[in-house]
């Protein structure tokens, strides 16, 4: 019972702490990606806006989807959603809970990227430099400049080394202005996200707490059940393989004995475990034949019951099915050397 509790707690905590860990790693990875990314404003009138907003919005979308892709629960959610009803009813509240919990975790890395981008300021400076209010900050009455020319000059604000509009508007002034707006937006965004998270956490118990507890329990249950099923299948595959190979070796040695027309050699009573473990293969030729036969003619996926008194080791003359039926699985699982 204790072991069961330990295993259960391990699964329970493992899935949640694992997902939280992935979430944290992705948030760190998004800051690292931003600092490693070489922001390169094109400094051309129509390209600036596209580039700046693209860098602000596309990577968060990628990170959001990546958060879903890396979450193993997404296939569980899709499976639970699409399975035929069968003998177990489907609860949409459970599906909603699973989806919300995945979406909340996936939102963290994009929010971090957007905040870091806004607080740094390069994106907004690049995207909105052509919309700087020249009248208030600079010298709008500068003559002989068409609208297009002004746009081209303003577009070069982020690229200090080629900026040639000092008379129109000072580069430092424009950059400081845009950066100030960007950082204000960044802090407001962080404040908004934090308040939202706070409200969601503190107000949730006020609304249908009982239903929430139920959904959470059953979503954990579905996850644990799926893991246990995979584990059981793997355990079964291992037992199946062990028995299959053992029967292959036995059949091999009995086949050779029959071919040589000798009386079947019985291992003497005091030969011990070692002789048994040799599986009846005691010389090079036999071993070579066993290896060749393993490759050329793998045994069927059909374990015959253990107590067959006949000398004919091979059972199942016809093509056996590759998926044995349930009752035989029970036999195979118990007939194991462990």
């Amino acid at each position: 019972m204790d072991k069961f509790r330990m295993i259960f707690q391990f699964f329970q905590s493992n899935q949640e702490s694992f997902m939280n860990g992935i979430c944290g790693i992705m948030a760190l990875a998004s800051t690292q990606m931003y600092s490693a990314f070489d922001f390169n404003c094109p400094c051309l009138p129509h390209y600036n806006l596209a580039y700046g907003l693209g860098i602000l919005l596309v990577p968060p979308f990628i990170l959001f989807l990546l958060g879903f892709v890396l979450n193993n629960n997404i296939s569980m959610l899709a499976e639970e959603w699409r399975r035929p009803q069968g003998q177990r009813g489907k609860d949409p509240a459970v599906l909603r809970y699973m989806f919300c919990s995945m979406a909340q975790r996936a939102m963290i890395a994009p929010a971090v990227w957007v905040s870091v981008t806004l607080l740094d300021g390069k994106c907004i400076t690049c995207a909105f430099c052509t919309s700087v209010p020249v009248e208030t900050l600079g010298n709008a009455s500068h003559p002989h400049l068409s609208q297009g020319e002004i746009q081209r000059i303003l577009a070069r604000i982020p690229c200090k080394e080629i900026y040639n509009g000092q008379q129109l508007i000072d580069n430092e002034v424009a950059v400081r202005y845009l950066r100030c707006i960007s950082q204000a937006l960044g802090w407001c965004f962080v404040l908004l996200m934090t308040m939202l998270a706070f409200l969601v956490r503190s107000l949730r118990p006020c609304f249908s707490q009982a239903a929430f507890l139920k959904s959470r329990y059953w979503s954990h249950y579905i996850d644990i059940e799926r893991k246990l099923f995979d584990e059981t299948c793997a355990e079964h595959a291992r037992s199946f393989a062990k028995v299959c190979i053992q029967q292959f070796f036995e059949g091999m040695s009995m086949d050779l004995v029959a071919a040589r027309c000798h009386l079947p050699r019985k291992a003497p009573a005091d030969a011990g475990e070692a002789a048994e473990k040799l599986l009846g293969i005691t010389d090079q030729g036999t071993m070579n034949m066993a290896l060749k036969s393993w490759h050329r003619c793998k045994p069927p996926l059909h374990l015959h019951p253990p107590a067959l008194p006949t000398g004919n080791g091979w059972a199942g003359e016809g093509q056996p099915p590759t998926h044995p039926s349930m009752p035989r699985r029970e036999t195979a699982a118990y007939y194991s050397w462990v």
Partner: protein
């Protein structure tokens, strides 16, 4: 029972987590390779495009092949595909499942290389600077056609004397870099959307067949491991018996040729067994020489009958 569970878990988790680990390591290795690679554009009209595209496309092929080679499951899949049918039917769904899982893992490192290359921009600038339209950039508008190609080809080389303070070159560089980064982010976006749709929509199609294919591909892997383990165990015992038999026959030969009676009761029973009747230097030397010149036959059928 506990040991069984531990060993089983090792087997279960081993192949999947080892493969995921290898996949991640290759992706990190590809980033590290790119950052330590000293990209040096030739800055000559005919060579730029070849070099740039070559650096962008050849290492991914190498990384893809490495990903296939390092994955143990690819051998298992090939063996399952090519084995004679014999007494066990072949299930194509299993082979397809294994193939797709191997391909997906092998594709990660090449994609990482291509995306990092595009986001950095040097390859595309090198490859396509010669294909720029000189009229778009002020500095190149007045240059003759023959010379403009040479100049454009030199754009990636920032240290060249002509290019150092040339604003038009910087403009070309910036323009190409912007396109390169946009392309990189777009490719990343498309791939992530594809991965998301694949994960989301897979249970909608043929979930039962998928579960079966996954189970049997896991089974084939485990069976292969257990077979190797059994053969190893068998060869250990085989070798043990063979050597015991050899020592026995040596001892008998020595008894035949020497006249000294075996000393009884002077040593403890355990030591006598371990020494196996070989008790002085000459005997040991003879034994070693015989072991080298006349190894015993690979046949312990006599030994098991004793």
């Amino acid at each position: 029972m506990d040991r069984f569970r531990m060993i089983f878990q090792y087997f279960q988790s081993n192949s999947e987590s080892v493969m995921n680990g290898i996949c991640g390591l290759l992706a990190l290795a590809s980033v590290k390779m790119y950052t330590s690679f000293d990209f040096s554009c030739p800055c000559l009209p005919q060579y730029n495009m070849t070099y740039g595209l070559g650096i962008m496309l050849v290492p991914p092929v190498i990384l893809f092949l490495c990903g296939l080679i390092l994955n143990r499951q690819s051998l298992v899949m090939l063996e399952e595909w090519r084995r004679p049918q014999g007494r066990r039917k072949k299930d194509l769904a299993v082979i397809r499942y294994m193939c797709s899982s191997i391909m997906q893992r092998a594709m990660v490192a090449p994609v990482v290389w291509i995306v990092v290359t595009l986001l950095d921009g040097k390859c595309l600038i090198c490859a396509f600077s010669g294909s720029m339209d000189p009229k778009k950039f002020v500095g190149f508008a007045n240059v003759s056609t023959a010379q403009v190609q040479q100049l454009l080809a030199k754009v990636p080389c920032k240290d060249d004397e002509l290019m150092r303070n040339n604003t038009s070159c910087k403009a070309v560089s910036r323009y190409l870099r912007c396109w390169s980064q946009a392309l990189g982010w777009s490719i990343l976006l498309i791939l992530i959307i594809a991965a998301f749709l694949a994960r989301w929509l897979r249970p909608c199609f043929n979930q039962a067949t998928l579960l079966q294919a996954r189970h049997w591909s896991n089974y084939i892997d485990i069976e292969q491991k257990i077979f190797e383990e059994t053969c190893c165990e068998h060869s250990q015992l085989f070798a043990h018996k063979c050597i015991l038999h050899f020592f026995e026959s040596m001892r008998q030969e020595i008894k035949l040729h020497s006249f000294s009676l075996p000393r009884e009761g002077e040593r403890a029973e355990g030591e006598e067994d371990l020494l196996r009747g070989i008790t002085d230097q000459d005997q040991v030397n003879k034994l070693l020489k015989t072991w080298y010149y006349e190894k015993p036959p690979l046949d312990v059928s006599q030994a098991t009958q004793r």
